[in-house]
């Protein structure tokens, strides 16, 4: 029989406390013991419930399959340890950890997101213009929204947009969308 100090008991207790489904618990328990324990250690900090845990399980299993690493090795990475050490609430920690894991899971997509974000920032359009993209950049529509209160503001913003077209910064936004 497992004692309270053993990982199996601790994982079962966590599952009960968070009302995890049998399926989710079974997935976690199918991992090698060291990987189970490594995730449990992370969850001590994050205290996440079923849905966030499923994201973590998905991403970690997918990284393991792709990179032939162990979960324990992934969770030991410096960036993840820093995210775990984030000051603030558990929610802040969870957000930071998930951001790092997502970057590991989707390295090229997150790089593309970052490049597009930088290209949009370089437009320096201020609050009166917003540039938006379809979810996960699926499709080819870029939406530019202008917010103005009078003709003068409209003229100003249009001339600013024209300058950004002329100096190639808008071109850079569209290029960034295709760069992987």
């Amino acid at each position: 029989m497992a004692t309270r100090d053993e990982p199996a008991w601790q994982i079962a207790a966590y599952a009960q406390r968070k009302r995890l489904s049998d399926t989710t618990l079974a997935r976690w328990r199918a991992w090698p013991a060291t990987d189970q324990a490594a995730l449990f250690s992370l969850l001590q900090d994050l205290q996440c419930g079923e849905n966030h845990l499923k994201d973590l399980l998905d991403w970690l299993e997918e990284i393991v399959a792709r990179d032939e690493q162990t979960v324990a090795a992934i969770l030991e990475q410096r960036e993840l340890r820093s995210a775990r050490a984030t000051s603030g609430s558990r929610h802040d920690k969870l957000k930071a950890v998930k951001a790092v894991l997502r970057k590991l899971r989707y390295p090229r997509l997150t790089r593309l997101e970052e490049n597009v974000r930088r290209a949009v920032k370089a437009l320096d359009l201020g609050r009166t213009s917003q540039v938006a993209f379809p979810p996960d950049f699926e499709g080819d529509e870029v939406t530019v929204t202008l917010t103005v209160r009078n003709v003068h503001e409209l003229r100003d913003i249009l001339s600013q947009l024209q300058r950004r077209l002329d100096d190639g910064r808008f071109q850079r936004v569209f290029e960034a969308l295709d760069e992987v």
Binding site: A30, D58, E61, E62, I63, A65, R66, R105, Y106, P107, R108, L109, L112, P135, D136, F137, E138, G139, D140, L177, D178, E179, V180
Partner: protein
């Protein structure tokens, strides 16, 4: 070779030619005569893999619905190639980890063989003979592999002569098998395309269970081509994994080092696509799979695909390679959006008929002038 655990025959279909052929080839298997709705009424024992179990039960029954359907890939928002499908078999003896049948046939997974193939031929004749001006493409590989069971069931012996006799329709037999000997003596008159679904060996060996190895598929393609058939290749699903580019480009090189490009009717590419529930099934049935580790996102049609910029890069890389190896071979993409066609080929089809025509009239091929390659 596929060996079912038992044979079930719908009452009244015992003497159908396909049943008799199968019984002769599998004389030692237990046979049960059952009612037509046997599968719905069956009390299923607890089974950790009902889909896998279903594949191993061979059920001969009549098809009571229409045989001829529009290909379900014609989803709103996606470019469609106006392909028609007929299914004489429902479910597949092979077991590819990504197969959509795992979800589509989850509630009726028994491998069914329809005994009334004459009705299928009548139905096709009624449609294609009434529109002699229109070019049709019809495939049998939607709900099963077209050839995996053919040495047992012998459907091609009826299908090939039927289509060979018609000038306005191409039959496509889509397969991952190498069992083609029985086709070699049949005359196709250029109206039958035998096509192979291909992934590089690294994927075929680990994700396409029960299929012929990559090199055996190519050998079979060459033999079929030498026997006078047109052939085709489908790099679908196109799977993104760490070594995808080298592996797929090598696979393309091997294809065109093996077969004569002049006899290739078409090559298609289609990104791996999985519904959320299919992802769950794949995860459960094939826990070691690497399929789910690509950078996939949920698209507007409710399916996960490699994110757009990356799959455009994949298509461009492979179509560029194809153009250098076999510039005259028609090429198309399956279940892709107009923006992706635009980015890959520099133009998107105006309507579904454009893609279909590009496959039957090679001078209209989309693969011939991708602007990004010039």
């Amino acid at each position: 070779m596929y060996r079912p655990t038992e044979i079930l025959i719908e009452r009244g279909e015992e003497n159908a030619p396909v049943v008799q052929r199968a019984l002769t080839k599998l004389p030692e298997l237990p046979v049960r005569i059952v009612e037509k709705d046997w599968e719905q009424k069956e009390t299923r024992p607890a089974d950790s893999d009902p889909f896998g179990t279903g594949k191993r039960r061979l059920f001969f029954t009549r098809q009571r619905a229409r045989f001829l359907e529009h290909c379900p890939a014609g989803t709103p928002g996606l470019v469609c190639c106006n392909y028609l499908v007929v299914s004489l078999i429902s479910n597949c003896p092979m077991d590819c980890s990504y197969c959509f049948l795992q979800e589509y046939l989850a509630n009726n997974p028994t491998l069914k063989v329809f005994t009334n193939s004459d009705d299928l031929l009548d139905e096709v004749a009624q449609v294609v003979d009434r529109q002699p001006w229109r070019q049709f493409r019809i495939g049998t590989g939607e709900l099963s592999d077209s050839l995996a069971l053919d040495t047992l069931l012998g459907f091609s012996a009826d299908l090939v002569p039927f289509f060979a006799a018609r000038k306005n329709v191409l039959l496509e037999l889509k397969t991952k098998s190498d069992g083609i000997d029985h086709l070699l003596g049949l005359e196709s008159h250029g109206r039958v395309v035998v096509s192979w679904s291909l992934t590089p060996p690294a994927i075929a060996d680990t994700e396409e269970h029960g299929t012929a190895p990559f090199t055996e598929r190519l050998r079979a393609a060459r033999r079929v081509q030498q026997a006078g058939y047109k052939i085709g290749f489908h790099f679908d699903p196109l799977i993104e994994y760490p070594n995808w580019e080298t592996d797929y480009r090598q696979a393309l090189e091997q294809v065109f080092a093996t077969v004569d490009p002049r006899g290739v009717a078409w090559v298609s590419f289609g990104s791996l696509r999985l519904t959320p529930s299919l992802r769950k099934v794949v995860r459960q049935r094939f826990p070691q799979t690497r399929l789910l580790s690509g950078e996939q996102v949920l698209c507007d049609d409710g399916k996960w695909r490699t994110f757009q910029a990356l799959r455009v890069k994949m298509y461009r890389s492979l179509i560029s390679q194809l153009n250098s190896l076999a510039p005259t071979v028609p090429v198309y993409m399956c279940m892709e959006t107009a923006p992706v066609w635009q980015k890959v080929f520099g133009r998107a089809p105006g309507c579904d008929k454009d893609v279909a025509r590009s496959l039957t009239e090679p001078n209209l091929s989309y693969g011939s002038a991708p602007q990004w390659d010039r």
